[in-house]
């Protein structure tokens, strides 16, 4: 690419040579994130180590008018860190320092490259932990978690990243210092922190994150309950909530998912059940005992065919290990899998799962399901072989139908993985042109030149028009007629 050299030279003016990569063998590892179906070689990769370097990179790119795409650990599942072919991939991987842990104030101040699980490890000696626990928590970093507003398996009770981050600090696209939130519980003016969290790296570049730490519960136990059909398992979830219980974790897996997982980790799941529920209670020992008894009664009344309560911490972790390993386990039984992330009102679960089952037949592809049942967040995993072009194409059409169904039943195309490049067409289904226009206006307020992570999350009207035509040509309803929430 013609403009590569001036950019490399400008960056090497203040960065060491090893922190500016541009040879293909060096930039190749950055060509994709966790969504490997989309790849693009970045023109240049920059690996700053200090806030000043981040600021200078941004200022340099801004003056050269070239795009910048921030990247954390690259575990994202929506292509949010897909590099710019004509710009700089800004890797925050070297920002791995825990600035401070304040046990009295229950906060940790960390750099964005600190891994999610490492925050809880730092806090553990003080009896504290960081609550959001995405399945990728051993690898994903807090910067990416903030960018995507990541969830996990304990969100219903403890919230998303949004509910557990107190402040962020960093730079605007122009390289001006910016701080949102802080250690107080609110700040004056608009809640720009709420806007920045989940903005997919399109509004600012973070160099520091202040998170809330919670006291670790004295005890936790989990019930594994089996059901003869998935709808009954869905109803059981509603009945637990109706009984006034908010479990610490409430997860569902269908039979194909438990079978894949059991072979991989040996979690002790019931392989005959059509679906299993994992229901966790945490708190003081007395509280847990009381809540487990109440949940067991509800589950029994809801038709559970078998129930096992974890006897000790090792068994509790073993029950969870299967759920947390669901994606890699599925990766073992299929050359490739495609993970979806729709959220639906829980009461529509049976309908959506039946719809997915029908699509399995229609497209000739298998699709095990794992489900954050408490939050209504579905992760259907379509199994396919990327070397078979026909299968990849069928997978994409399968996934698009599932996401559009999520919108049709009053849900959303993404619960916690983000839009990125992956679901950008479905944004045209979920939002109307006026709403997309407002999103672009929000982006413009922060980044008038559109240089920060361009082309992600918010589609252009032209793109939506094209996508709409494609659907009409495919003989389907134009998206404007879809029911909306």
């Amino acid at each position: 690419m013609g403009s590569r050299l001036p950019v490399v030279n400008a960056l090497r003016g203040f960065l060491p040579a090893r922190a500016v990569l541009h040879e293909e063998e060096d930039t190749r590892p950055y060509e994709c994130d966790g969504l490997t179906a989309y790849r693009q070689l970045p023109m240049v990769v920059a690996l700053p180590e200090t806030e000043e370097q981040v600021q200078q990179i941004l200022k340099t790119c801004f003056s050269l008018k070239i795009p910048v795409v921030p990247r954390g650990a690259g575990t994202g599942l929506s292509g949010g860190a897909l590099p710019p072919g004509d710009g700089v991939l800004l890797s925050m991987a070297k920002f791995m320092r825990a600035v401070r842990v304040d046990p009295a104030a229950r906060v940790a101040v960390v750099q964005p490259g600190v891994r999610n699980a490492a925050i809880s490890e730092l806090a553990a000696p003080h009896g504290l932990y960081y609550a959001p626990d995405p399945s990728s928590q051993i690898a994903c970093t807090i910067g990416g978690n903030v960018a995507e507003n990541s969830g996990g398996v304990h969100c219903l009770k403890y919230g998303l990243t949004l509910h557990n981050v107190l402040g962020v600090r960093g730079f605007t696209v122009e390289g001006e210092p910016i701080a949102l939130g802080g250690e107080a519980l609110d700040s004056p003016g608009y809640d720009l922190l709420a806007l920045a969290i989940g903005s997919e790296g399109m509004l600012m570049v973070m160099t520091e994150v202040t998170v809330k730490l919670l006291p670790k519960a004295q005890s936790a136990r989990v019930i594994m309950a089996s059901f003869a059909d998935v709808e009954k398992a869905g109803d059981a979830v509603a009945k637990i909530i109706a009984a006034g219980i908010i479990p610490a974790g409430l997860e569902m897996m269908d039979k194909p998912a438990t079978r894949a997982v059991e072979e991989f980790v040996g979690a002790g799941y019931d392989l005959e059940a059509a679906a299993i529920l994992l229901c966790e209670s945490d708190g003081s020992a007395e509280e847990v005992e009381d809540e487990i008894a109440r949940m067991k009664a509800v589950l029994e009344g809801a038709g559970a065919t078998r129930m096992t309560v974890s006897r000790d911490e090792a068994e509790r972790l073993r029950f969870w290990s299967g759920r947390k390993a669901a994606f890699p386990a599925v990766g073992r039984i299929s050359p490739d899998y495609y993970c979806m992330d729709g959220t639906i009102p829980r009461k529509r679960l049976g309908e959506v799962l039946n719809f997915i089952a029908a699509l399995e037949k229609k497209y000739g592809l298998r699709c095990p399901n794992v489900f954050h049942a408490g939050d209504g967040n579905l992760h259907p995993l379509i199994l396919f072989d990327a070397n078979d072009a026909g299968e990849l194409d069928r997978t994409e059409r399968f996934a698009a139908e599932v996401l559009e169904k999520c919108v049709a039943v009053g849900g959303t195309i993404t619960g916690e993985h983000g839009v990125g490049v992956e679901k950008i067409n479905q944004m045209c289904v979920q939002f109307r042109p006026d709403e997309l226009e407002l999103f672009r206006a929000v982006k413009h307020a922060f980044d008038p030149a559109g240089l920060l992570n361009p082309g992600k999350a918010v589609p252009t009207l032209a793109r939506c028009a094209e996508y709409g035509r494609m659907h009409v040509h495919g003989g389907k309803l134009p998206h404007a007629d879809l029911p909306r929430f």
């Binding site: 107080a184 004056p188 608009y190 709420a194 708190g283 849900g411 979920q430 109307r432 413009h444 918010v458």
Partner: protein, 347 residues
Amino acid sequence: MIEPFQERIREAAASRTPLRLRGGGSKDFYGNEPRGEVLDTRGYAGIVSYEPTELVVTARCGTPLPDLEEILGKENQFLPFEPPHFGPGATLGGCIAAGLAGPRRAAAGAVRDFVLGAKLIDGRGRVLQFGGAVMKNVAGYDVSRLLAGSLGTLGLIAEVSLKVLPRPPSERTLRLEAGEGDALATMNRWAGQPLPVSASAWHEGRLFVRLSGAEPAVHAAAHRIGGEAGQASLWSELKEQAHPFFAGAEPLWRVSLPSTAAPLQLPGRQLIEWGGALRWLKSDASSAAVREAAVRGGGHATLFRATDKSAGAFTPLDPVNARLHKALKAAFDPAGILNPGRLYADF
């Protein structure tokens, strides 16, 4: 019907007539002085949908807050952020626009933490829907949460979907004796332990704590904390500012600080809530002195109730934040007609 609102806003934008979006007027005192022709939102009221087992309620802006709370109460659920009403006329729209939470804030979360989605009429009269009625949703920027605390300057919040929770089965209030420094240390120590503390307050040598949750947990925590039994009515007195502390002619400051910040060295009387993170101050100290002390403590100070708000109700923004605020305001309300000046004088 929201079309009349749309029409009114379109006309006002065309003629550059400022509009004052207003529900029951219970929070007229909050923020800078309201300006413009009143657009009364109370006509657009009622529950759109409520599914207790989904933990989601969607209601229109004019819905009286007491009515909403009563409907949730019938299902043994509630608004966990415990919003203050500040008068019988409080509406849901005003509650979200003001973004004020009550005693449970430190334990349960802020108003925005429970906002799942909103239907907004922007400054061009367009009806826009953001977020939804599900727990997790990261499609598009989180505009619905941005609306909490925006004081109607970004648009008319026509409908809002909120996450609700089951009421805790058991609650108990305890009272202990403590000086300010000890009280702050104690509240922070409690918050670092797995105790079901749902509210705390300190005033004039007395420390109050409310425990909420399953009976065994509340019982065990009460035993551990000790102290005397306290009045549960304290929490609604604090929430509604009916407590004697709030009486008197001096300006009332709301100082938001990190919970571990040292006691404020300012003249006047103080009442502490939110485990130390909220310091109410009744004081004639100059606004410069109060704001400087707040910033030094790591937070900010709002002139909450005062006859003279010429110093501005809210702590001034730094230049980058100020520029972003104005750019966002222009994106939502290009004619600058919605509650102008209510948040900051210049937009």
